[in-house]
């Protein structure tokens, strides 16, 4: 009979596995298109991503939403096939095809079985290189987009984030929704889409990424056949500089949604671009403030107070200075108290600097999690996409742990103090204005707007 197991202390970890991250092979097609390939034959599937310099931040203001509309239309007629023929083609292949137009780039993602890869590449080339953009399909999809924008108004969490970024960035592209406004999408037509596609879907700055059950040389040859003569554009566009100070800090903005069961709360400001020396310190600070489940904001509002299902924060690093957003949804009566507690936690990062225990938890959570962030082929192509978008070196992820581990508590405090200074914070609540407004006046003069 075995002894009674002593459970009182956690077991010691075994020897930590060496961090072995995969490296992709790099190739360049005749058109100048960069190709990154990482063969991983474990399962018979392939993840593909095509990145083009077609980010929403490069749209002219009056054409806000054209990147998203262009992305939606790629599948709606191409290479001499109409929308239904294209749909039948993809559905028979069984492949997954999605397009996302972020502020930085447009990314076309495909997932295919390896035995249908050749067909998937044909489909990818047809959609991205030869979309038809007929007037009738453009009109139909434009109307679908308008319907979606209307439906988004029903979601308090979406409304909150949209109104927040406008209150932070004003007219800068980051102040507009990346997929457009009702007004701007209303004014788009096939001509605007064609123009955007012609200018932005070129090999300039573009990259094709593949991970999965592939033979690299054969895949390069297949790609050369489909993208080797792609338009070698030169125009990569340029992003307007983000403002240095948010548009309307201080006075809480309330978007009235009478009889709401909860209030959606946002506290935000201008954060930092990805390429900043503060990247690692800001990442550490945010993990402690609101990035992890065990972060200060979540522990306070959820596990201590029970006011919410969850509270969190994030720096949205982009090529330009994307926003910092702290967010939660709380039961209506505690709205002002919750805002005050979140504000106190943000200030607390300076007045009550992170303990060594908090620093250690954040370091470990950020660095020891790397192996599982490279587990699936889609994860790998996603990481490679970040390397392309931000121009990161090959050894970026290998060196990530040492960079994180080098962050000092002083640097964390300094970064939080600089970016999250009280006078830079924008407050927004979507909820029942009559109930929440009196309490919010403690922060500053309130302004109520219709939903």
């Amino acid at each position: 009979m075995s002894q009674v197991l002593d459970r009182s202390t956690p077991p010691e970890p075994g020897t930590r596995p060496a961090l072995k991250l995969p490296h992709s092979g790099r190739y360049r097609l005749s058109s100048g298109l960069d190709v990154l390939i990482l063969p991983r034959p474990a399962l018979p599937e392939v993840s593909l991503r095509l990145i083009t310099e077609a980010g929403a931040a490069l749209e002219p203001e009056r054409e806000c939403g054209v990147a998203e509309l262009t992305g939606r239309l790629l599948t709606e007629g191409a290479a001499g096939k109409d929308a239904m023929q294209m749909a039948g083609w993809l559905d028979r292949l069984g492949a997954a095809f999605t397009v996302s137009a972020s502020y930085d780039v447009t990314m076309v993602s495909m997932h295919s079985l390896s035995d249908t890869l050749s067909g998937a590449l044909d489909y990818l080339a047809a959609t991205t290189r030869e979309p038809s953009f007929t007037a009738s399909e453009t009109e139909r999809v434009r109307q679908e987009r308008l319907d979606e924008i209307e439906r988004d108004r029903d979601e308090p969490s979406i409304v909150a984030t949209r109104k927040l970024v406008t209150a932070i960035y004003g007219d800068h592209p980051y102040g507009r929704p990346s997929d457009g406004t009702y007004e701007s999408v209303s004014s788009l037509d096939a001509e605007s889409v064609r123009r955007f596609h012609h200018r932005r879907y070129t090999s300039a700055g573009a990259a094709l990424i593949a991970c999965g059950d592939v033979d690299a040389e054969r895949l390069v040859a297949e790609l050369e056949g489909r993208f080797g003569d792609w338009t070698p554009g030169t125009d990569r566009g340029s992003l307007p500089e983000a403002p240095s100070h948010p548009l309307r800090p201080g006075s809480p903005l309330i978007i009235d949604r009478p009889r709401s069961a909860q209030s959606e709360i946002r506290i935000g400001t201008i954060g930092a671009p990805f390429q900043t020396e503060d990247l690692y310190a800001a990442t550490m600070g945010n993990a402690i403030l609101g990035g992890l489940f065990s972060s200060r904001i979540n522990m306070n509002l959820r596990e201590d107070k029970g006011w919410t299902y969850g509270a969190r924060s994030a720096f949205h690093f982009r090529r330009g200075a994307g926003p910092f957003v702290a967010q939660t949804a709380v039961e209506t009566p505690v709205t002002a108290d919750a805002v005050a507690e979140m504000l106190a936690e943000i200030r607390g990062m300076v007045t009550n600097p992170p303990s060594e225990e908090e620093m250690s938890l954040a370091r470990n959570a950020l660095t020891l999690s790397l192996p599982r962030q490279f587990e699936t082929t889609s994860q790998v192509t996603g990481k490679l996409a970040r390397q392309v978008i931000f121009g990161l070196p090959e050894d970026y992820w290998e060196r990530y742990p040492e960079r994180i581990n080098a962050v000092s508590r002083e640097h964390v405090v300094a970064v939080m103090e600089r970016y999250l200074a009280p006078e830079r914070l924008v407050f927004l609540v979507v909820g029942d204005a009559e109930s929440v407004e009196p309490g919010l006046r403690a922060i500053g003069p309130t302004e109520v707007a219709a939903g």
Binding site: S2, L5, R7, S8, T9, P11, P13, G14, P17, K20, P44, E45, T75, A83, M86, A87, G88, L90, D91, R92, L93, G94, A95, A96, H111, L113, R140, E148, E150, R151, R153, D154, E155, P156, P258, S260, A261, Q262, L292, F293, M299, R302, G306, W307, T308, A329, V330, E331, N364, A365, T367, L368, S369, P371, R372, F374, E375, T376, T377, S378
Partner: protein, 423 residues
Amino acid sequence: MSTVHFPFESHTLDNGLRVILQQDCTTPVVAVHLMYHVGSKNERPGRTGFAHLFEHLLFQGSENVPREGHFKFIQNAGGTLNGTTWFDRTNYFETVPSNELDLALWLESDRMGFFAPSITQAKLDNQRDVVKNERRQSYENRPYGLAFETVIRNAYPPGHPYRHPTIGFMEDLDAATLEDVHDFFRTYYVPNNAALVVCGDFDSAAALARVEHFFGDIPAGDEPPPVDVPTVSGSGAREEITDRVQVPRVYIMFHSPSFNDPEFEAADVLTSLLTEGKSSRMRRELVYERRIAGEVEAFTWPTEGVGMLFAVATARPGVEAHELEAAMMETIEGLRTDGAKEEELVGARNRVRRALIRRLQSVGNRADALAHAQVLRRDPSYVNQAFARYEAVTPDDVDAVARSVLEPDGRTVVTVLPEASDG
């Protein structure tokens, strides 16, 4: 044809705990997944939402693990973790670096064996508030958020275990007591009512020894009382509710083959023919050709007892709910009349195979699939057989399900309408 097979071994400890080990050394991570065969269907009247509330309490520490310790220990190890509750089961899972397998086993075994002494009224009250806010956030304050609970209330007779939602109702959450917590733990959280799946980078023999080390001394309990899930024929019930939305949405539900049923895959393929891909029948007809729907989606819920097949469509502005419902039924009738075509099946098979392979890539999802197959089907090998079972679905199989399941008179319909504008 590309297919895959995940070899695993299956054991039962003396206390009845089912253990499934699936070794895969591709990435130095390991998933630990503990699934208990208890869910909202086991709740007694007046205590809806309790199984899920209980799941929250299991993150509040146990005899040797402090409050919120699970999150801290796992995140400090670089891992990820969560728990979920559904009609038939509750699961707790983490994926950690492979050198931290012991940590995950220690945490899960401590709450299986030694949870009861640590629970307090204060922890219960706190998590009750959190769960009530989860209900507000994910259901009450979300457009169309109360539709599914309205569907099942109409689809099942009073007293049926699937008639109430897993999140539960506010007054029942308020009524939960510490005594309920202890009863529930004693009744359902016993090793003989659970399956432990370990998937990832380890040596199987060594891992089995570690599982035995941490779980072997937890005593078996009585077999939990079985729940009778009566088969129901279609209800034919309808209800209209209003919500703060701008366009109507129609939910049509049919009782369908359960996850255990030989016809489950055919029913699943049927939903794929209806709305998966832009050339699918309902999507093509309602979204593309007639342009009366903004979104359509059909899917099955893989329940252990009587299954559920949903078709959901959101109207375009200006389209009335009854018009949308009629169009949905026309598509469904069309499938029943004309029958599935072999060429539709070709695409459906490719999509299903690809989606299965993609889902089973990560050790966390694979462990989840093995646990579901073990707990709900008593057969973890289903994870590997699924490929061939979907591949074998013929147009005749789909037609048979369409005829027996999509019986118009038996459908349950819930329509969500925009509230009258209050200016």
